[in-house]
């Protein structure tokens, strides 16, 4: 049974790619013993972006539906789990069982409204922003969730790591998000090679042709939105428990949505490895600039972001397909699933 699953998993993956992946995973698994707390936190942020980027990529990279409002699913996930935890003491993993259907249902509502009324492309993207902004302002004025003063999770010194309640030291959070990133990577790998995945690609490439070929495009676009929303909601839960606070202004903000999107676009949209690479490149860049500014003694607010923006500009001008496709060709890891 397990052999068959593993056999399916590595089918269509070149030997070289498999070895590279195994090395990367081994390095990541060993990381907490090799790096300090600061770098570990950076790695957590990188993996968080790799995870959310992968989740967003399901919708845009696979099914071609551009979403600018993924902060909505992030916020819903975070708020549902955090409320259940603070009000009723329900552990986040159980809270996730509530967060996932709620996020997926919201995705379904947006998808249903948009796809039924033929709202597509840029219009669809703006609609997703509108819903996220709607939620942001709504939560900002909703007293049950503490409105704009935000939710705080109790921070106690825990003698031991409690993975069930997601209370513990950075190393525990690191392994949780690493496991989630690996899981979503494997999920996407399977999805891309499944019937649904092929239908998605057909919809992405040419929706009319897909419909002409008998694909129920409405249904498969709905599945893409719901899966993407559900997967993203876990990132929200993680965010809430890692940072121990939630503010509507932050979790639902358009900045969150944009952060999620940048990684996969920089890495290479529609590829499995693009979101991971994009997360490493962007977070690495941001942190390097941070350290460089500190080292140079530059205390100019905004200077770091200006350089960040310039780097983004250079990448998008120089590598319109993202970093991964050309890199994959060079590394010789075979077919890039674009």
């Amino acid at each position: 049974m397990i052999e068959r699953i593993i056999a399916r998993m590595i089918r269509g993956v070149s030997r070289r790619a498999a070895i590279l992946l195994a090395v990367l995973l081994a390095v990541l698994l060993a990381a907490p013993w090799m790096v300090g707390d600061y770098l570990l936190t950076v790695l957590i942020i990188i993996l968080y972006f790799a995870y959310t980027g992968q989740a967003w990529n399901i919708m845009m990279g696979f099914a071609g539906q551009l979403s600018f409002g993924h902060a909505l699913y992030l916020g819903l996930g975070g708020y549902v789990a955090a409320m259940l935890f603070t009000q009723f003491g329900i552990a986040p993993w159980l809270g996730l069982l509530a967060a996932i259907p709620i996020a997926a249902a919201c995705g379904a509502v947006i998808g249903f409204l948009a796809f039924r009324f033929r709202v597509a492309g840029v219009y669809f993207a703006i609609l997703t922003i509108a819903f996220a902004e709607f939620a942001r302002i709504g939560f900002d004025n909703w007293n049950y969730v503490n409105a704009s003063s935000g939710l705080f999770l109790p921070v106690k010194q825990y003698a031991h790591n409690d993975a069930w309640r997601l209370r513990g030291d950075p190393a525990m959070f690191y392994y949780v998000i690493l496991a989630a990133t690996v899981a979503v990577f494997v999920l996407c790998h399977f999805l891309l090679r499944s019937r649904v995945g092929y239908f998605w690609l057909a919809v992405r490439e040419d929706e009319q042709a897909a419909r002409a070929a008998g694909i129920d495009t409405f249904r498969y676009k709905m599945i893409a939105v719901m899966v993407s929303a559900a997967v993203t909601s876990f990132a929200g839960v993680f965010y809430a428990f890692f940072y121990n606070n939630l503010f509507p202004e932050q979790i639902f903000s358009i900045t969150r949505s944009i952060e999620i999107i940048l990684g996969p676009i920089i890495g290479g949209i529609g590829t499995l490895f693009g979101p991971i690479l994009g997360a490493f490149v962007l977070t690495g860049l941001a942190e390097t600039l941070n350290s460089a500014m500190t080292a140079l003694g530059v205390e100019l607010p905004g200077a770091r972001q200006v350089f960040y923006g310039i780097c983004l500009l250079i990448v998008v001008v120089a590598l319109p397909d993202g970093v991964w496709p050309p890199l994959a060709r060079r590394l010789g890891v075979g077919k890039v699933d674009k």
Binding site: E133, I137, L313
Partner: protein, 290 residues
């Protein structure tokens, strides 16, 4: 609350909405012709706002006088931007254009932050506290001037597109890109011109906006979003639609701020957007989608 309070607030909302409309008109013109979504639109407005504030303080000029020069500066900025940076991107997928303009927006916002700091700034005008009174209605003079300037600027733009040869050529590019190339139009230059005109609109709107709100470097994203909401509500590609959408959103926000709390007002703008997208996706004045 007496009726005239509502009327006062509604008229204030209409005037503010005209300035919103002019800003959104810039976005609409750019998208309608070049087919690029300008995600740095609000940031370009911030540039105009800070330019106005600096020149007001340095030269003691009124924002109303600065309107044309600042619109001209933004025109050059937009022209250069399209020519130098955006043009190769017009045939690339939307998400790539998005990334390019988001990068630009990040650069603009943070450059403004470095130069001007995070504090809110405003201008002092001689008529800041003046108002007009017609019967029970009292309207801020600044809002009246801003609204009137927005109408004049928009009318001039309509006239340009309607009556000049260049304006007609730009409309031809929007209608049929290949056709425009076939008849020998310099599409690249016309696109740059269009981007410049869109930037000029947002520049003029920014100059007027300093009469209505304080400027901070962080204004950008929310005004980009507002411009989208207005353009889609009014109808993408429809120039009067942008003004109508602006007035509708401006009035709704003003009344929502009065009836509920001001912090909740943009929720109504988004609610209108959702309703329009669902029941009239082409927008209030937009042409039927094919």
């Amino acid at each position: 609350m007496p009726f005239d309070v509502y009327l006062n607030v509604a008229i204030g909302g209409v005037l503010t909405g005209l300035v919103y409309g002019l800003m959104a008109l810039g976005l609409s013109v750019i998208f309608g012709v070049v087919r690029v979504v300008n995600f740095a639109h609000g940031e370009m407005m911030s540039i105009a706002m800070f330019a106005t504030i600096v020149l007001c303080a340095a030269l003691h000029l009124d924002p109303l006088i600065l309107l044309v020069p600042i619109a001209a500066v933004l025109f050059v900025f937009g022209y250069g931007l399209q020519r130098g940076l955006i043009n190769p991107f017009i045939t690339r997928p939307e998400h790539t254009q998005f990334l390019l303009l988001v990068a630009l927006a990040i650069i603009i916002t943070n450059t403004l932050l470095i130069v001007f700091g995070p504090d809110a700034r405003s201008v002092q005008t001689s008529y800041a506290y003046d108002s007009f009174q017609i019967g029970p209605i009292i309207i801020d003079a600044a809002k009246v001037y801003a609204g009137a300037a927005a109408i004049i600027f928009a009318t001039a733009l309509f006239a340009f597109f309607r009556f000049t040869l260049v304006g007609k050529a730009i409309r031809a590019c929007a209608d049929n890109h290949t056709g425009a190339l076939v008849v020998g139009l310099d599409v690249k230059r016309l696109y740059a011109l269009t981007f410049g005109l869109g930037a000029a609109c947002v520049g003029a709107a920014g100059t007027m906006m300093v009469l209505l709100i304080d400027a901070t470097p962080m204004l950008g994203p929310s005004y980009t979003l507002l411009a989208f909401v207005i353009v889609i509500t009014g109808g993408l590609g429809s120039m009067p639609g942008a003004l109508v959408g602006g007035v509708l959103i401006g009035t709704t926000e003003a009344l929502a701020g009065l009836l509920f709390t001001p912090s909740i007002k943009s929720m109504f703008a988004f609610a209108i957007l959702v309703l329009v997208l669902l029941f009239r996706p082409q927008g209030i004045l937009g042409k039927r989608l094919a």
